[in-house]
């Protein structure tokens, strides 16, 4: 009897799978037909070969083929696509340039990829009001290029700025190297136009600085495409600084360099950019860029001061003197724009440079209180020993955003899995010292497990109910950003099994308070 039952259930399961697959194919055909009524056939992509380029974003370790890809070119078309998907209860993943490093734009296998690549127009630049109105597919760098004729620019500059689009920047709340002084995307966006999951068009924010009532605009920034589809963005433009100058300083320990950063800030100087690199990153970058970095140094600081001519002159000398006083082993000041660009070239090419010394690298994105830097780097070094994987560290020192680059070889069986586990440990460490699992890359699919370390079940449940306020059926970028509660519990149990105390995440919160409380003034 038991045999018969099991045979029967296998049969039923197969039947179910077959019927689901058939329904799925029929659904894809129906949607393709409906979309082609108002979008050119070639922009409704249903064949696997053409869909292939959409299978992943900047984090290629996560791949999935979508059911369908569609590239509308007007907001009305986006609305119609959303309405049709809503009727059929089909998941939608909005996608900009696909430069996300957290698998935020990875397709859903039963869903539609809604590419906004055709929304490339700068709609308006108002130099007097200092704003730019943009379609979501406009590249980040293109905004500053277009504003330059008015001596204005757009401040947030993620390292992918040559390719990433402003719609994606809003979805991820993108940062960059100038955040300490000029803020993140959320500080530089005034207004968005958004299409809701059921195809309604709404405006959030205004051309004024404040909006009354609960701040929906802030909520949309960093919401990873899970609350709505952004179809227009209005950003603030800032006057181009009269001058910018960079100081390059080498230190014989990470601790000394970290202390120097704190000292500059406590003297009242807010640099435009403040970056740190560890010895591995220095060596790799120098070999690649020949920027004149001190390869014998254990840590390197790049400190950019910008503002009026007088201000830069006043502060650059102060910072240089301070670095020497605080034990810098070498200090160089850029003398012209060419040299300034050269100093930055090393830092900006750090990722590809590291790519040259290893077949693959995995970029992490934790944030920590700056005072914890030396401790965190020592722990990372210990983990590196344990996992037998090299790590190079690049650090947005001004705002505490750490990017450890784990070097690995994906051709070695099991090595990516080992790398991911190592990366997970680094993020857990960041939470432990009072930081967070992602500073600017987003959660996506990549860090969804670690969400359980930063948040407890009630907090995760609150996130889910916020999502439901916008998207009751959960069709916008499903599976990203916020983990299902069951998975949180499983992950915490797994960590507990490995003797790491993460069973109660609120312990972490309180621990972090305890660590920070030592510094109460």
């Amino acid at each position: 009897m038991p045999e018969r039952t099991s045979l029967k259930s296998v049969f039923n399961l197969e039947k179910l799978i077959n019927s689901t697959a058939t329904t799925q194919i029929q659904l894809a055909e129906t949607l393709t037909r409906e979309f082609r009524k108002f979008i050119d056939s070639e922009y409704v992509i249903s064949d696997a070969e053409t869909q292939k380029v959409y299978e992943c974003d900047g984090l290629a370790a996560y791949c999935e083929m979508p059911m369908l890809v569609v590239l509308p070119e007007t907001v009305e078309q986006v609305q119609r696509v959303m309405k049709i998907c809503h009727q059929h209860n089909v998941p939608v993943v909005a996608r900009g340039a696909g430069t996300s490093l957290s698998a935020g734009a990875t397709p859903h296998k039963n869903g539609v990829i809604l590419s906004l690549a055709k929304f490339k127009n700068i709609l308006e630049i108002d130099p007097l009001a200092r704003i730019a109105r943009l379609q979501p597919g406009v590249r980040n760098l293109a905004i500053s290029e277009a504003a330059a004729e008015h001596d204005l620019y757009y401040a947030p500059d993620p390292s992918s700025q040559i390719a990433c689009s402003i719609g994606g920047n809003v979805a991820e709340n993108a940062g960059g190297v100038h955040c300490l002084k000029y803020g993140l995307t959320v500080h530089n966006v005034l207004k968005i136009e958004m299409v809701t999951v059921d195809g309604e068009r709404v405006i959030i924010g205004s051309e004024g600085l404040d909006n009354y009532g609960a701040d929906l605009l802030a909520l949309m920034n960093g919401s990873e495409g899970m609350l709505g589809v952004i179809t227009e963005v209005t950003v603030k433009l800032l006057p181009l600084p009269e001058k910018a100058q960079v100081i390059l300083a080498g230190f014989d320990s990470v601790q000394t360099a970290g202390d120097a950063v704190g000292e500059i800030i406590s003297r009242g100087i807010i640099p435009g950019g403040l970056e740190m690199m560890d010895t591995h990153a220095i060596k790799a970058s120098e070999a690649f860029a020949n920027a004149g970095y001190p390869v014998e140094a254990k840590a390197l600081l790049l400190c950019e001061v910008d503002g009026t001519l007088e201000e830069v002159q006043e502060y650059i000398d102060q910072v240089a003197d301070l670095f020497k006083e605080l034990g810098a082993t070498s200090v160089r000041i850029s003398h012209d724009e060419q040299e300034r660009a050269l100093f930055w070239k090393g830092r900006k090419s750090a990722f590809p440079a590291v790519g040259r010394i290893s077949p693959d690298y995995y970029c992490m994105d934790g944030t920590i209180p700056r005072g914890q830097l030396a401790h965190v780097l020592t722990e990372i070094e210990n983990l590196s020993e344990k996992y037998q994987l090299r790590v190079a560290n690049v650090f947005h020192a001004g705002d505490g955003n750490l990017h450890p680059l784990i070097l690995f070889d994906s051709n070695v069986p099991g090595e990516f899995e080992k790398t991911e586990e190592f990366g997970g440990k680094i993020l857990e460490l960041c939470v432990e010292v009072g930081g967070c699992i992602t500073g600017e890359h987003g959660v996506g699919l990549e860090k969804i497990r670690q969400m359980a370390v930063q948040f407890n079940d009630q907090e995760v449940a609150q996130f889910h109910s916020i999502k439901s306020a916008f998207d009751p059926n959960g069709n916008l970028n499903p599976g990203k950003g916020i983990p299902v509660l069951k998975r949180c519990q499983e992950y915490r149990a797994l960590l507990k099994g490995k003797n790491i105390d993460s069973s109660d995440t609120h312990n972490h919160h309180h621990q972090s308070h305890a660590i920070n409380n030592q510094g109460v003034a």
């Binding site: 009532g213 609960a214 800030i265 503002g307 001519l309 006043e314 209180p369 005072g371 009630q458 306020a469």
Partner: protein, 364 residues
């Protein structure tokens, strides 16, 4: 300094089980804002929930309990020559950090140094199920989960009872100077916008009673260099003395200069947030223009919908900030789609509708 978190959680839980609405109040300095209180609701005070929990001046971060007064925060910051960058109204020092965030208060430096919403890094709050939750953190970059902390800015306590707030602070500027220049309203709007587009250390731009005021803050050399340049460029411009300047910006921030005080308590005071280049409107009426044109104050009896029509045409909104009929809607009215989103969000944080019911909108 006292921690009454468990008392607050108990009060919320009791309100939930008895289905009795509550009004969250700090020191009550902004009771005049928003719609009239629900008269049947019980007032729960966070005024005793005070204390600075953490201040890392090197990290530019402070964490304080929601009932902590801005006077206490200012005093702690001053020891390290730092300040609240958004410079909210202090209301004689009694304003609390929680109330300031719930109403998203910012001072005259708003266009250059941001609002409290911009500087908040994390909040702990008790939601309408009596759960004490923690969002954001103490670091400047944090994109894990939705930005619940900044969502509280302007929500007037309708989404929960905040217990702790972490925020970014900044060094005080090394030097400050203020110029005054007689100009018409129209000329001032044009001039403030033009000057805002130059890379100079502008930190305040206001027009009041026929005079434009420009504040410069930053490195001494930059402030002095710019002041010299503008004094020669702007016709009839003069330099205010240090004490004159300090008084001017102080009373402006506190909404205590003559424009605000020379008014019957009942006369409505309207606050516009709109495009800084919006043209002059109803020129004969009494106006004060701040934030280089982006925030405008108007006093007098007007029809809200008419003012809102003009504000919307100029990229913004207008609220009935003070006085007038506060049983009617005083905030901007969202369209039906956004109204649903606001209602759903309220439901998600406060399913039994116990927090500050009707304070923000009559329908919520």
């Amino acid at each position: 300094m006292s921690d009454i978190t468990s008392y607050l959680i108990d009060q919320v839980s009791a309100a939930v089980s008895q289905q009795t609405p509550i009004v969250i109040q700090g020191n009550g300095t902004k009771n005049f804002m928003g719609r009239a209180f629900d008269r049947d609701a019980k007032i729960i005070s966070t005024a005793e929930h005070t204390g600075i929990l953490n201040y890392e001046f090197v990290e530019l971060v402070m964490t304080a309990r929601a009932g902590t007064s801005l006077a206490e925060i200012d005093a702690a910051l001053a020891e390290h020559n730092q300040m609240l960058a958004c410079d909210p109204a202090r209301f004689n020092g009694n304003a609390t950090i929680g109330g300031s965030l719930a109403t998203n208060q910012s001072g005259p430096g708003r266009p250059w140094s941001g609002s409290l919403r911009d500087h908040v890094l994390g909040v702990n709050l008790i939601n309408g199920k009596g759960e004490h939750l923690q969002f954001g953190g103490q670091v400047m970059k944090n994109v894990a989960g939705y930005d619940v902390s900044r969502l509280q800015a302007g929500a007037m306590g309708t989404l929960g009872m905040m217990t702790e707030i972490s925020f970014k602070v900044l060094p005080k500027p090394a030097s400050t100077m203020t110029l005054a220049c007689p100009l018409s309203m129209q000329e001032a709007i044009q001039s403030m916008n033009k000057l805002s587009g130059t890379a100079k250390p502008l930190s305040g731009a206001c027009w009041d009673n026929g005079t434009m005021y420009l504040r410069l803050s930053g490195a001494k050399s930059a402030v002095e260099g710019t002041a010299d340049k503008w004094l020669s460029q702007l016709a009839n411009a003069s330099l205010l003395s240090e004490s004159e300047a300090e008084t001017f910006w102080h009373v402006l921030r506190e909404q205590q200069n003559e424009f605000f005080t020379d008014r019957d308590e009942d006369i409505p005071l309207w606050r516009f947030s709109l495009s800084p280049t919006a043209p002059v409107y109803r020129q004969v009426e009494p106006w004060l223009i701040d934030w280089a044109g982006s925030q405008r104050w108007l006093k007098g009896n007007f029809v809200h919908a008419e003012l809102q029509g003009w504000a919307a045409a100029n990229g913004g909104e207008v609220i009935l900030y003070r006085g007038g009929n506060r049983d009617d809607e005083v905030f901007y009215k969202p369209n039906s789609v956004l109204k649903t989103v606001h209602k759903n969000l309220k439901q998600s944080f406060d399913p039994h509708n116990i927090f500050n019911s009707g304070r923000l909108y009559g329908w919520m």
